[in-house]
Symmetry: C2
Subunit: 370 residues, 2 copies
């Protein structure tokens, strides 16, 4: 089949993120499923957590389905001769029994292929709840909270991002038990549901969304969520396994009253925090924050010495001194552009961090108890 | 002392490459030696193979010498507030007993410092042979042959680059016993000497040369070579330990007679070689090259399938078929821009690769004996 090389490369870049390297549990996951149908080439890949399917416009003989080893096939296409920016550059994918040929004159690769037996079927769900969302909105929500996902194994549910659908809107939320990030989209949803997507699958959803145009279709089932996205002449479907269960009730730990509120420019504060944390204790990464008068003083001290910096701020409320894990505090502030509002509920109780423009992002950081 | 931040950052970037991370044999190597002298700041760093000294113009109080832990000091300076591209931006380095302060308002870091005792003295050499070379010429010679250095330990001398000084000129040469690369500069030298510099030290020499202006001073001693380079208002000196011994007589393995000579464009050949090698056997990386008529045919076959591509060439001599380790062949051709001349001495005897413009580069690759 004749396929536009640019589209095929983009599809294979997505597939590469999913096809496992090394020795996966199921050796078939190192293969791509290829099928030449009427006017389209279907590429599918899978791992233990996800399935991905890309359909690209293609011309010529039908063929397959076959399974072709992902790595050499992707490299044979990606490295095909010619300027990859040429919009109309085409490559020939010839799907035959036992082999797939990649041709882009004068280059020719013949790659051994296997039958499609054993490759996972597409996980269709009958009972799915369906909605549509703007691709870039969804991308924004996921990418703003992704950092707060836990890397620990002891509370497995926190290794995913919880997606919340309700008539109030859509929310993405992540936490590791010490901090929390959420992003609200004010788009009423046609159903009420909480679904927890594992972090690695969130990364792939974001990769698909980055190249997507317009809206995406979401179908949330009991154990699987599927998303269909449109990319310049191609369709991408991704199915991600959901984690069983849902987050504990985090809303009750979000304080409602704040003796002190501070507004400041996010960028210079972030830079100062980065600097001061250079000297922080290597064990607890402690940075002290003193809020008094018209300034915020950042201070850290560790084995190598000490660092400090002050930033002019406007305080509303009583002076306060707190300490944070510099990494958590920095993560939380780094998602804000422009002005940031920090609401302090107390010296040892959670601090809230939000953009002043109320764009939907909220971070909760717990001060260190030292 | 008041120092231009841009110059200091550049000096510290060099120092960072040399100061070992982790736990080195000598814990003092993780420190920087700092000394505020009249109108200059002296920064020195060392590891088991090299010493580096940078002198920067500076104003203000003298101080030191002291030893300051390299990592936090470098980070405290690099992250100092303000736009790093501002030419005139200055930072204050206050060298006191027991501590060094970094100040760039409102940022202030106080880093614990130790006395200079035990830090290696600068390895001056009385018996050195001296010469001057254009920095960019020397950089070119080193960077063209660096790839051919051996990574194996069995013939230690090949883990360095041999520098040859004679009245015929200057030559850099590297080999791993299977292939060889050399670069000749037609600059007669005032002495005759061969000196082998370990690969890691060659990398540092190149880093210094990249920022150097005009000529550099070289002093070749029996166990150490020192190089002094000038960078926009600063002086950099680097001393590298030489490896004992010299390369075996490699010139006798370079063939003199060639039944076949081929001239072709390096770039498309390199691209074709890259593609074909995707399908090569993972053990020996074999790629076959058939030269016949007006074409070169590249072919490889491995577990995944086979790849082939042909390139139009002009042959002078008898047709020939050979096989190479694709990686070695690609390395050798990758250093040539424009037209490349390949001289084939026989099916199993060394092949010579040179740029058609005779710029001084020569690579020798031995075909596979299969």
């Amino acid at each position: 089949m004749l396929v536009k090389q640019k589209l095929l490369n983009r599809a294979l870049a997505l597939a590469r993120g999913i096809a496992p390297s090394g020795r996966p549990l199921n050796p078939l996951w190192t293969y791509l499923y290829l099928e030449g149908r009427e006017k389209e080439l279907v590429i599918r890949t899978a791992n233990e957590e996800m399935d991905l399917e890309v359909r690209l416009p293609a011309m010529g003989e039908e063929g397959g389905p076959v399974l072709v080893p992902a790595s050499p096939f992707i490299r044979a296409v990606e490295n095909a001769p010619g300027d990859e920016d040429e919009e109309d550059k085409e490559v020939i994918i010839l799907i035959q029994e036992g082999q797939v040929e990649v041709r882009a004159w004068p280059w020719r690769a013949t790659i051994n292929a296997a039958g499609p037996e054993g490759f996972p079927a597409w996980p269709e769900s009958d009972t799915a709840l369906r909605t549509r969302m703007d691709a870039q909105d969804l991308l924004r929500a996921l990418s703003q909270v992704r950092y707060a996902v836990s890397r620990e194994s002891w509370r497995a549910i926190f290794r995913g991002v919880q997606l919340e659908f309700s008539d109030r809107g859509f929310r993405a939320v992540a936490s590791d038990g010490y901090r929390l990030a959420l992003f609200d989209l004010e788009r009423p949803q046609p159903f009420t549901k909480k679904a927890v997507v594992p972090a690695r699958s969130v990364d792939e959803l974001m990769r698909v969304l980055r190249g997507a145009e317009g809206e995406v279709d979401l179908a949330v089932g009991t154990s699987t969520m599927t998303m269909a996205a449109w990319q310049e002449k191609g369709v991408v479907r991704i199915a991600v396994r959901l984690m069983p269960g849902e987050f504990p009730d985090y809303e009750r730990v979000i304080p409602k009253e704040f003796p002190l509120t501070v507004t400041l420019e996010a960028e210079p504060f972030r830079e100062a925090l980065k600097r001061v944390s250079i000297l922080a204790n290597k064990e607890n990464h402690r940075v002290d924050l003193s809020l008094e008068g018209k300034r915020a003083l950042l201070f850290a001290e560790g084995d190598y010495g000490k660092g400090q910096e002050e930033i002019p701020v406007s305080l509303e409320g009583a002076p306060m001194s707190l300490a944070y894990d510099a990494r958590h505090f920095l993560d939380a502030v780094s998602r804000v552009e422009g002005e940031v509002v920090m609401r302090f509920s107390g010296q040892f109780t959670p601090t809230l961090i939000e953009p002043a423009d109320g764009s939907g992002y909220l971070a909760v950081v717990v001060p260190l108890k030292v």
